[in-house]
Each structure stands twice: as structure tokens, then as C-alpha cells.
């Protein structure tokens, strides 16, 4: 049986290629071998923890360039820095309202519970864009602006109609799942950690399969190791189908329909 797979979480770094489109082409090559149909891509060829407006615009330009070459295989999320609210809102308009992107990526510049995120989340929600917030609870210590799932849960409480995604399920997923459990507008991203057995089963048990999303964090991570979190989970096939593509499709359908994209 062929099951559709949409990968929530890919990057243009860590993969060979001189141009953004060449790098996305490499990702597509590996994705094809594993039957992955669509890739969500965000951030550019070189990363920055705390990007200036010029830096995030450049990174978004690279993603836009890659999307142009692979319009049927990839979706883009706009990378923003909430420390620069005015410029972030303008960039959101440029890439999502007026461009092809369908989501927002927030990384480690500013913690998710800061009030500066509120106008960005409001505007993204108006545009029907999903909001992906990187999170981690690191025993070794978080970066200064790195959010925890608990901080994301605070943001979700202030924006109950926003569609939020908890990146990496908080890294320490046994804590991350608990932290977002009471916030139904948060889904969890399985990407980016070692494929420790049991993560997906716990996420489904505590959140329901409808709130769990497959993502890889390629090219830093292997598509294979992350896909194994779903393929190898002791879950019924309907739950796996939701996680592999149907949930993300459901979340993106309003904005894709608004943009006239058929999926």
C-alpha cells in the first residue's frame, strides 16, 4: 500500500549544492527513495541564531528560489526574528501574503512566551499560516533565546485559534508531550532527535494521533532515522497515515486553498 508522506521539517543546510535549488534537489533525491512526497523547507544555506532583518530576508530569498524550482514538491515557511517585530511582519506579508509560503518558522532568537511574538502570531493566524516554534528542554542547558515547550504552551494559551507546532516535541519528549498536552492548538513535530523507541507511541497516547506530525530535520538528520519513528511505531495504520501526511494536510489546507494550490 502506498501511503502519502509529507515531511514537516527540512533545511537547505548540511546538504551539498552550490545553489538553493540544487540543495533542495538533493533533498528530493533522498526523499524519493523513501517515498516522501512533499517537503516543508525553511531557513537558508547558512544559519544565524539571531538574524538581523537583512539576514532573515536573505535566507527567505534562498527558500523562495528553491521553491520556484520545485513547486510541486516543497512548501516554504518564512523565517522570522521576533526581536524585530516590524520587519518580521513585513517579511511575513512578503513571503506568505504576497508569496508562496504557507507557514512561519521561529527558532532560537527569542523565547516563545515573550509578548513580541503576539503580533506575529496574530498576523500569521489571519493569513491561515501555521507557526512552527523550535523547542528543546536540554539537560545540558538551552541557548539564551531557545524556547521550551512550556513557554510555547504559554503562547498557545494567549492565541487559542493559532495553529502552533512544537518543534522536536521539546527534544526531551517525555517532558515536552506533557508540557503541551493541555493545549489543543499545539501539534508536535517528531523531527530532530535520535529515533528513540516509544516517542511516537507516547505522543499518540497522550495527545491523540491528530496532533502528531512526521518531520525529519533533514539534511542534518537522516530522512530514514526520522521516518522510522512512524514506520517502526506500534500503532495502527490509520494513525500512521495521519502522522505521515494527513494531519499536516489538514492544517495547511486553508492556506493552500486560499492560494489556489490543489493537494
Amino acid at each position: 500500500m502506498v501511503v502519502e508522506i509529507w515531511d514537516l521539517h527540512c533545511h537547505l543546510s548540511g546538504v551539498p549544492g552550490d545553489t538553493p535549488e540544487a540543495r533542495l534537489g538533493e533533498l528530493v533525491k533522498y526523499a524519493d527513495r523513501l517515498g516522501i512526497n512533499r517537503l516543508c523547507v525553511y531557513m537558508g544555506m547558512t544559519w544565524s541564531y539571531d538574524p538581523s532583518p537583512a539576514e532573515f530576508r536573505k535566507q527567505n530569498d534562498e527558500v523562495l528560489r528553491a521553491l520556484k524550482r520545485w513547486p510541486d514538491r516543497a512548501f516554504g515557511f518564512v523565517y522570522l526574528n521576533p526581536k524585530h517585530v516590524k520587519e518580521s511582519l513585513a517579511e511575513l506579508d512578503r513571503c506568505v501574503r504576497d508569496g508562496p509560503m504557507v507557514g512561519v518558522k521561529l527558532w532560537v532568537a527569542h523565547k516563545a512566551n515573550n509578548p513580541e511574538l503576539d503580533p506575529i502570531v496574530d498576523r500569521a493566524t489571519e493569513l491561515k499560516a501555521v507557526i512552527f516554534q523550535h523547542t528543546w528542554i536540554k539537560t545540558t542547558g538551552n541557548l539564551p533565546g531557545e524556547s521550551t515547550p512550556m513557554e510555547l504552551a504559554e503562547l498557545a494559551g494567549r492565541h487559542p485559534s493559532a495553529q502552533l507546532i512544537c518543534g522536536h516535541t521539546g527534544g526531551d519528549w517525555e517532558q515536552g508531550i506533557r508540557a503541551v498536552r493541555s493545549r489543543p492548538n499545539i501539534a508536535v513535530d517528531l523531527a530532530g532527535g535520535d529515533p528513540v523507541a516509544g516517542i511516537t507511541e507516547m505522543a499518540v497516547r497522550e495527545l491523540g494521533a491528530e496532533r502528531v506530525l512526521y518531520g525529519s530535520d533533514a539534511a542534518g538528520r537522516s530522512f530514514a532515522s526520522q521516518l522510522a519513528k512512524v514506520r517502526g511505531a506500534n500503532l495502527p495504520d490509520p494513525a500512521k497515515r495521519l502522522i505521515l501526511a494527513e494531519n499536516l494536510k489538514r492544517m495547511l489546507r486553508p492556506i493552500l486553498q486560499a492560494k489556489g494550490v490543489k493537494v
Binding site: 548540511g14 546538504v15 538533493e26 533533498l27 533525491k29 533522498y30 527513495r33 523513501l34 528543546w136 536540554k138 539537560t139 545540558t140 527534544g171 526531551d172 517525555e174 532527535g193 535520535d194 529515533p195 528513540v196 523507541a197 516509544g198 507511541e201 525529519s216 533533514a218 539534511a219 542534518g220 538528520r221 537522516s222 530522512f223 530514514a224 532515522s225 521516518l227 522510522a228 519513528k229 514506520r231 517502526g232 511505531a233 506500534n234
Partner: protein
């Protein structure tokens, strides 16, 4: 055709801080067999924190011998920082007929420069054992705060390997720590292989082959800690040709152990290898 796989990296028992869906030996071996694994090299999670390694190793040997679904090959543990560790080594070789041992320097509290380790590796080489060196067992960022065990500092590894004549080293869970020229240097320092369980990156296995050559890579799932599909899907992701698949899935592991049994041991030349003792599936 279902591949025949030798899995060089599994563990029996329970992880100290969580249950895994396959941490029951019956479920684990059934799942391994369903994926085409015909033989698996097993360590014991108990070896990480238990001090009575003699008991841990005896239990591991019994559990492996009792298994009939697939061949389980026990790799006992020796801690060269413990008193009278040579007796543990002797029992592994003579009493349990183990073809190799596993070492956990970070959990056992010694570095790669510990004098006892040099002596242990030397003895292991003399006895033709395959030495599995575990550089980490869990992402440090994910550890329980009160049970933090930083990964092994692998800096002295190449120099260490080059000093031990005849050492057959299998680096387990090493590839998120070792990469690029550092990894190449270690592998080129002697007869060093790696298991693929923690190799990451899109097409990571292909790039690993170009770094260390296919002969040095063994299939390792690190089950039940990791979903075993991870290692299997990496083979698919890297689109390997048939000879390379065969080498990684089966032949390299076979060669590592058979090379061992072809060499006389100074302790017990009549020792029978577990592969010959255990019933075929």
C-alpha cells in the same frame, strides 16, 4: 528477497530510565527476525550501572543461549577500573565462550587514557576478542539531570588503537561523535569498524562509505533503544548496490568474527564459537 542481516548492536534487558516497546527478549528477537536479522550481537543494559558484572555477564550468556528464534551472540562487559577485572575477562572467554566484549568507559568512570584500559585491550587482542567500544548510549541533552553521563572523549582513540597490536575494535554508537577526518584517522589507525546506528544526515550512509570504506561498516540497529527501522531505512535511503548491501548487512560482521576464530587463542584453543553451538533458526 529478504536480506540476511547480522545486527552488531543490540542490548538485552531494560534501560534504567524508561521502558522501550521491545525491551522484552521474546518480542525483540521476534521483531528482529521479522526484519531479516538472523544473528545479533548482544550486550546487556544492566552492565551500565550494575557493579556485579560477573552476574550480568552470566545472565547475558544464559539468555543468549536460550534464544532459538535467531542466533544471539553475547558480548560481556569488563570494567578495567574495577578490582580484579581480569577475572571478568577470563569468565567471558573461558566460561561463557564469548567472542567479544563491550566497554562503557563513560558509564564505568574511566577515560581512554586509563592504564587499565590499555592492558585490557592488549589482553583482548591476545585472546582474539572483538572489542565493542560504546562511545555513548544516549543523547546527552536528553539525559535525566541526575544521571548525566557525558560521551566518551574520543580524542586519544587513534593513538590508543595504533598502540595495541592485533586489536579488533568495533565502535558502537560512535557516529554522532566521530565524523570527517577524525573518524578517518581512527579507522585508519588499525582494524577498526563502526556500526551505522547513529549515522545521521540525508544520505548519511553513502557519505560514511566514502569516508571509511564499506568494509569497515557493520549493520547495527541499537535496538531496542532505537526503532530498528532506522538502520534498515538508512540502507534504502542511500540506495546501495548489491555488493555494498551484502557487505554491510552480513559479510563484514561475518568476517570480523570468523577472522577471530581463525586465530589461535592463548587461553582455550578448543573454545567453540556460539555460532556453532546455537541451533539455527
Amino acid at each position: 528477497m529478504t536480506p540476511r542481516i547480522i545486527d552488531a548492536n543490540i542490548n538485552l534487558g531494560r534501560w534504567p530510565t524508561r521502558r522501550f516497546p521491545l525491551d522484552d527478549p521474546t518480542r525483540l528477537t521476534q521483531a528482529l527476525r521479522q526484519q531479516g536479522v538472523v544473528e545479533a550481537w548482544a550486550g546487556a543494559f544492566d552492565a551500565l550501572l550494575h557493579r556485579d558484572l560477573g552476574s550480568v555477564n552470566a545472565r547475558l550468556a544464559r539468555e543468549c543461549q536460550a534464544e532459538r528464534t535467531i542466533r544471539l551472540v553475547p558480548f560481556g562487559s569488563v570494567n578495567p577500573a574495577q578490582p580484579d577485572w581480569k577475572e571478568d575477562l577470563r569468565r567471558c572467554v573461558e566460561d561463557h565462550r564469548m567472542p567479544g566484549i563491550r566497554l562503557y568507559p563513560n558509564y564505568h568512570g574511566y577515560t581512554l587514557e586509563h592504564p587499565g584500559l590499555v592492558e585490557l585491550l592488549d589482553l583482548a587482542a591476545q585472546r582474539n576478542l572483538v572489542v565493542g567500544l560504546c562511545l555513548m548510549m544516549e543523547d546527552e541533552r536528553m539525559m535525566l539531570p541526575r544521571l548525566r553521563v557525558p560521551p566518551v572523549n574520543a580524542k586519544p582513540l587513534a593513538s590508543l588503537v595504533s598502540r595495541i597490536k592485533g586489536l579488533r575494535l568495533l565502535l558502537l554508537n560512535s557516529l554522532s561523535l566521530l565524523n570527517g577526518p577524525t573518524l578517518q584517522k581512527v579507522v585508519q589507525a588499525g582494524e577498526v569498524s563502526v556500526d551505522l546506528s547513529m549515522r545521521e544526515g540525508a544520505g548519511g550512509l553513502s557519505s560514511l562509505i566514502s569516508l571509511v570504506s564499506r568494509e569497515r561498516i557493520l549493520f547495527g540497529s541499537y535496538a531496542p533503544s532505537l526503532y530498528m527501522e532506522s538502520a534498515l531505512l538508512k540502507i534504502q535511503e542511500s540506495d546501495l548496490d548489491a555488493p555494498t548491501r551484502l557487505a554491510i548487512l552480513e559479510q563484514n560482521a561475518q568476517r570480523l568474527l570468523s577472522a577471530r576464530t581463525e586465530r589461535p587463542t592463548s587461553i582455550d584453543t578448543q573454545a567453540t564459537h556460539p555460532r556453532e553451538r546455537t541451533a539455527s533458526p
